[in-house]
Symmetry: C2
């Protein structure tokens, strides 16, 4: 198993990315290809005493930043660490790709460099969102601002395959994000998608209202990329706003200030969980080979976990399951 890593993607690149890759090699026995400026990578490894048993480096002189247009990956930034990593994957030199870099660029690279699975209209990006008891998947969270009903159904099929194969959830429950539970609710998109889901082989639980969404009422909630992106960031923003509303409660008097000392650690845990708004990263689904987007602020530990998910994504036949779903029309 070989994983190609964009060593210069994410807020803590390259150090935490390289450290996380070394941890993954040690823990899972996986082979790593680090993409990026070879000199900088070697210096970083040396200076920080990072150990790899078996490391490949694919040199890439450039970096694609959050400010760059995602599509620049294909031209102006074709020598960036992310573009080179995508090419390693496409050429068959690696089994899966991981980057903590620009989400938009990951979508562009997945779609145009790795390319779509036959029958897939558009690849879509998932997110794993924390809920009180566990977490749930939301998809699409921004790859496709405007969607057709058939696209939403395909997202559901791909989400289901991934959750079953990688997360080990048998027959995962799938919901459609909507403004009411009745099947006549929402815009034409949701109404037509509801019909398609109802007649599919998915474990469809119906419409999910956003008031219930954060409680994780189904394993995957499907929506268009515009609404998904709004929802993902709103969960994060609301959590942050709420914590700032709680501040005066703790500062109220001497007793509440004292109380805060005992609660500090636990509160920080919840805040961190919600602040990230995503658990560990999530797959881009619909591409011919496994593309995994790690969270932008991943540290070494988080990045190691992202590599682990990418390994499971590659090992557990997610791609062939999706291929088969779209080959046999009756399953879609």
């Amino acid at each position: 198993m070989k994983i190609v890593v964009d060593a210069f993607g994410g807020d803590n690149a390259p150090l935490e990315i390289i450290k996380g890759s070394a941890l993954a090699e040690k823990e899972y026995g996986v082979n790593i290809i680090l993409c990026g400026n070879e000199e900088v990578i070697k210096k970083c490894i040396e200076e920080n005493n990072i150990h790899f048993d078996n490391l490949q480096i694919a040199h890439a002189p450039d970096v694609i930043s959050m400010e760059d247009e995602p599509t620049s990956l294909l031209k102006a930034k074709k020598n960036s660490s992310m573009a080179v990593a995508f090419n390693e994957l496409s050429k068959g030199n690696a089994d899966a790709f991981v980057s903590a870099g620009s989400t938009g660029a990951v979508v562009v690279g997945g779609t145009f460099l790795v390319k779509r699975i036959k029958g897939v209209k558009r690849p879509a990006l998932a997110a794993m969102i924390p809920s009180p008891d566990s977490h749930f998947m939301m998809m699409d969270i921004g790859a496709n601002s405007e969607c057709r009903p058939e696209m939403l159904l395909q997202f559901g099929v791909m989400a289901s395959a991934y959750l079953e194969r990688v997360e080990g959830i048998k027959n995962p429950t799938i919901g459609l994000l909507n403004i009411g539970t009745e099947e006549t609710k929402g815009t034409q998109l949701q109404q037509e998608a509801y019909e398609l889901f109802k007649n599919s082989n998915l474990n469809f639980i119906g419409n999910v209202e956003s008031r219930e969404l954060p409680f994780g009422v189904c394993n995957a909630v499907i929506t268009d990329g515009y609404t998904g992106n709004i929802a993902l960031k709103l969960i994060e923003g609301t959590a942050l706003a709420l914590f700032s509303m709680l501040k005066p409660v703790f500062l109220n008097n001497l007793l509440t200030k004292l109380s805060y000392i005992f609660l500090k650690k636990g509160l920080r845990g919840v805040k961190n969980k919600m602040n990230a708004s995503e658990v560990g990263g999530a797959p881009l689904l619909g591409t011919r080979k496994p593309v995994f987007k790690a969270h932008g602020n991943s540290d070494a530990f988080a990045f190691k976990n992202a590599i682990h998910k990418a390994m499971l994504f590659a090992q557990n036949d997610v791609i062939s399951t999706i291929e088969n779903s779209f080959a046999e029309k009756e399953n879609v």
Copy 2:
């Protein structure tokens, strides 16, 4: 000043609605028309020793419930307390309308019984959402699932007029809910609306991302009714989910349990603030006469405040300001 009240709308109707109306009469010297079953209203007043100096009752034998189709207001439920209240307003017997009943029915009644202001494409529903420092308006929150760019601009014009006239905010800031701050972000709807807002006389601050939304970064955020409804309920749901995540933090050990005792009151205050997800109620804007939707779970105090807002809505020339905006094309 005369306010017509749907006495049978809302979770706590008729008692809290009638009590709130009596409080409003006493505090603001306003005249109240209560709509609903006359016998039940009289009995409720008598049994609870509620005092009115000057009360009118408009008899309505029926009630429209949350389960009824909103459009039933126009036919099957035309003798409901809400329909009768709308008719009192349309006939000119009252200066403003207040109901804590079905939101959908309020939109239907406003649009088809009170009718639109000339030039207004579609009336839209606002919500006042709590933020750490104050609150902000979001509009539309569900009257129009699908919108055209011109509709969004009109929502902005109406929100601005209301906030200036009723809330006393000079030149209120208006933002467009979107998935990024750049003007090229979002779907065609947001992109085209951005152009219209940019060239309007509104105090337009550009796109607002949902991560910033709960902090109240502008006085009014404009969106289509589908996204607005998703966002409104998601803020509420996320707050509730977060409180359930905090529970184990407080139950962790003896010291944290003790701490909870000192924080309980303050925490409950924040929870209640967020639980309602809306402050006091909000106007339906774009109708020929003032229509105000009180929060469904209004108690007497909240309903009294809703009547006060409806009075300001009627007194402060919101309707004529909107009329003038749409009469003078250059202001839109």
